[in-house]
Amino acid sequence: MGQNHLLSVLIFLPLVGSLAVLLLGRDDHEWVRRLALATSIAEFVISLFLLRGFDMGSGAYQLEEFHRWISSPPIHYHLGIDGISLFLVLLSTFLTPFAILCSWTSIHVRVKEFFIMLLVLETGMIGVFVALDLFLFFLFWEVMLLPMYFLIGIWGHDRKIYAALKFILYTMAGSILMLVAIVWLYGLTGSFDLPEIQMKLQRSIVMLPAGTELLLFGAFFLAFAIKVPIFPVHTWLPDAHTEAPTAGSVILAGVLLKMGTYGMLRFCLPLFPDAAHRMAPYIAVLAIIGIIYGALVATVQHDLKRLVAYTSISHLGFVVLGIFAFSNISIQGAIYQMLSHGISTGGLFLAVGMLYDRRHTHEIKEFGGLATPMPVFASLFLFICFSSLALPLLNGFVGEFLILTGTWQRHASWAAWAATGSILSAVYLLWAYQRVVWGEVTVEKNKTLPDASTRERLILALICLLALFMGVASPLFTRRMEATSQNLLQQMQRNRAYDARGAAPAGMPEHCDMPAMAAAPALASAQVARHDSVPERRAQN
């Protein structure tokens, strides 16, 4: 059977690139950068072929690759993407060249190692998003931790060691839980293969007692919650961001945080739907707290980078809320918000990094009046701020609006509370922007700061263009998520339906990843229909 090796190529190309960089001379900085950039751009171009190979009518795993790897325990090299991971892969391959470009002049020590780390990191990220084997997933999950740890620990700022340790300890704590859960799940189902486990659980070949399901869900969820991060396990994030070099922050905010929300969509919801339903109200409350709390704390930060870090907590709260509202609309909104947060917040970190390159500080009061010496930078920065605060026709709006629309159906007050985040995002961003960019130049040094260079203009302008594109052309994205999102919800419903019946009907298709809306039992489809239809809430008086 002819397999498409696109996903493998995407995983290993950066690794090969990093090996090639390894062969270059230690002081050959120019070529190290060029090679790294060339690799990442090639990677991005190749990843665009995913769009061609992707069938948007299907919610199943696509472009699958399957190789036996270890027979006992049965660990396989199983890759595949669906409408959730497709764009997350693209986001990773899109942001890595920016991470490399923004480090062009700002990294002076151990240049070679730095770019090797970035490329290895890319391998890890792509691997996480395409692995369909739980062990393989865990492997990539850990692979990606190490380079990030080093990026913060070696190339970071003043308190880098503390931040790196905090990052690794928090994440490791989650990883242990996840590992235990993976092994436990293997003990129950005899498999590490995600589609196989999904199928066994759905057809009730394996029945999880409610308590067990809750524990498994909790272990996975906590690991992902730390990664997102959800209040109250978020305190590693501001430190990690503040201390990380710009490239590290861009990747961290742009991609790594999404692994948490990706994990929830990929594992927590389809494998443990009952537990997910039971816990959803609590999780939604935490998400809403995160939205408001992150925004309020962001407002009062003195450090610009820390401020942007806290905004991530707020924005990711929307994503988590969208996921746990279990609505087709809000889940697509959540996926969209993941992408758009990667672009906007990545852009914010890039802009903040450019200021750091000039002044070697993130203190807001060290700036002020930058529009005078740096007008082009000021305009592009403002554009990115508005993309982040969800102005219509820019990327942030689509995700946030879909999330809130979907959430409203499930629980109007959740949507109402979460929507206050849209006021607060204007507060913290515009206030910060005013203090940094508007007003008179107050610090003597700032009077002569050079405006954005051609390289910097290119970086920011590309981010702005993509923000605009995502803001006006969202169906190009959401149409590719639709089937997957429906499929996901259907699986969750089906699980519940089978549990209710206690037994699986015969004659189900062999693999679980059949197209959406196919041959679902009547009970399940009735429940699905309820998810999408308009409730009859007419006025009755």
């Binding site: 709390y293 704390v297 609505s327 969202s474």
Partner: protein, 679 residues
Amino acid sequence: MFILKHLWIILALPFTGSAVNFIFGRKWPKKAVDSVGIGSVSLTFLAVLEAVREFLQLGANQIPWVKNYYTWITAGNFRVNFELQVDQLTVVMMLVVAGVGLLIHIYSSGYMAHEGGYYRFFAEINLFMFFMLTLVMAANLVLMFVGWEGVGLCSYLLIGFYFRKKSAADAGKKAFITTRIGDLGFMLGIFLTFWTFGSIDYAAIFRQAAQMPIEKAAPYGVLTSICLLLFAGAVGKSAQLPLYVWLPDAMEGPTPVSALIHAATMVTAGVYMVARMHVFYSKAPAAMLVVATIGALTAFYAATIGLVQTDIKKVLAYSTISQLGYMFLGCGVGAYAAGIFHLMTHAFFKGLLFLAAGSVIHAMGGQQDMREMGGLRRKIPWTYWTMFAATLAIAGIPGFSGFFSKDEILEAAQSGPNANTWLWVLGILGALLTSFYMFRLLFLTFFGKARYDERKVHVHESPANMLAPLVILAVLAVGGGWVAAPRLVGGVDHFEHFLAPVFHPRTGGTLSAVIGASPEEVARQMDEAKAKALTAEAAEKEEEHAEQPGLAGSLLGIPVIVALIGLATAWWFYIKSPQTPKNLAKSLSGPYKLLLNKYYVDEIYGFLIVRPLLWISANVLWHGVDEGAIDGAVNGVASAAREVGGRVRHLQSGNTRSYATWVVIGAVAFTTFFLWMVR
């Protein structure tokens, strides 16, 4: 039918102008920048005129004219199309926005000629035209929201145009954030609409809402909720109580911006929205009452503050808030056409007032304080006469445009189907104050002796490109109301008649509201419409009887009397006996201070909301919860662990490599443990 088929052109023109100036304008000479800016808006205006011409040839069954261009957002059954529509209401709004917009663009090329950031100004004001036209041409709620937020962005940028000034930067931010508070309600209103009707397209939701019962009494239904939520957005955008606080500060922006955005167009978006959603509001009398009450209260309240302000633009700002209140009062008592009528005449006379004020400021070399003016009448006659006309219009002196529109609103509040005496009284008191503070402004500025140093300030009349828009607007401010004049003698109000197909679809000829309804339903509604028409006819006949003394009654009605009283008082205070207001301010120093400080509302908001929120965020959430509780716990666990493992290894060695080693060892240990577990 070219433009009607390609309505997007009307939006693309100003957008292109904006983009060109943003990208290239910085290095271009001013001539090129304003050619692009004014050129694109001129073309927009021509396109609008052509669209209106084509629209007037449409058959009644083709209205509203809706064109869908592409799907903007889609997920599940939620779909937002980039869909534009034209009906009579849109026509009025398009003409006002594009027409007044064009005049103000021309004026700006004179007013801003000596300012830095010329390209930025034109780029941003063009962008505003794009968003404002999107707002009025949208065929669904979400697209309206796009324009709604977009004009907010432009307002933010233009208020903060002089970004080096802290007060300007503060004002821009305040405007955006305050209106966003209202927009929260607007968004929730959209969600509720979608989940109630399964759509956000006007056609679909109006069709369904038209068949729903009127929500007469508690417990109110979903339409009342939707209307109130949407109205929250209008309260923010149109600067009504309690969210009006941003508009006076918005005067930090250049004066043409105040004229276009903060008087003639953007701030009226809320009124337009209520009128657009009239199908909903008409079914929700409780929400209507809220709209009318907020409107009447604001009309009176803002007028009281306007009495004592000394900054010429601040007076006009409070006057705008007050006049917007009248528009809401009109809509709230069901006289939507009157509300929109006042919106239009207000766009003329208030746009003119601001432009004339700008001309005064220009002449005075930047002075905005009326106490430093006086006697300008002879020095800048064109400005004076145009401003005089606008003042007569806003004060409601018979024959001028404001008289016709305000009179209709007050009449509806007094004797319309949703009449309410208290609201009418507030409206009348507001009209008295309006007349007073406007003539006060006129007298302080143009009459009396010069109170500035004539050797230092060289008062000069503005150039022709500023005066021409003044004159055109003056003509409109005087004559713009006469379309409604026949009403006074029992004839047809042409403005209301033109809008009738929108606000009274059944009697107005189109049956758009019943398309898709069952045949029985249609028949029933036809009967109803007929019955209504009959009663209307009867009522008209009755009115004709009452109308005969009514002409004199209207001309010398209470609104006119209070306007004249206001005029006379202002004349007494500021021309005849200038000591009176000073004495009055002394003897009533308490209320005077209260008004001068705008009831201390900004201070109260700061004290009750802003400062506590910042304090809690910094001290409780950040330092308390984040750094204290959570990190304290985390660090506590870490240090406990360190104490246990401290003898084995020095964790805090500060050596990166040793951490790296630890991580690798850890990872290996995990893997080993894992493989051991699995076997």
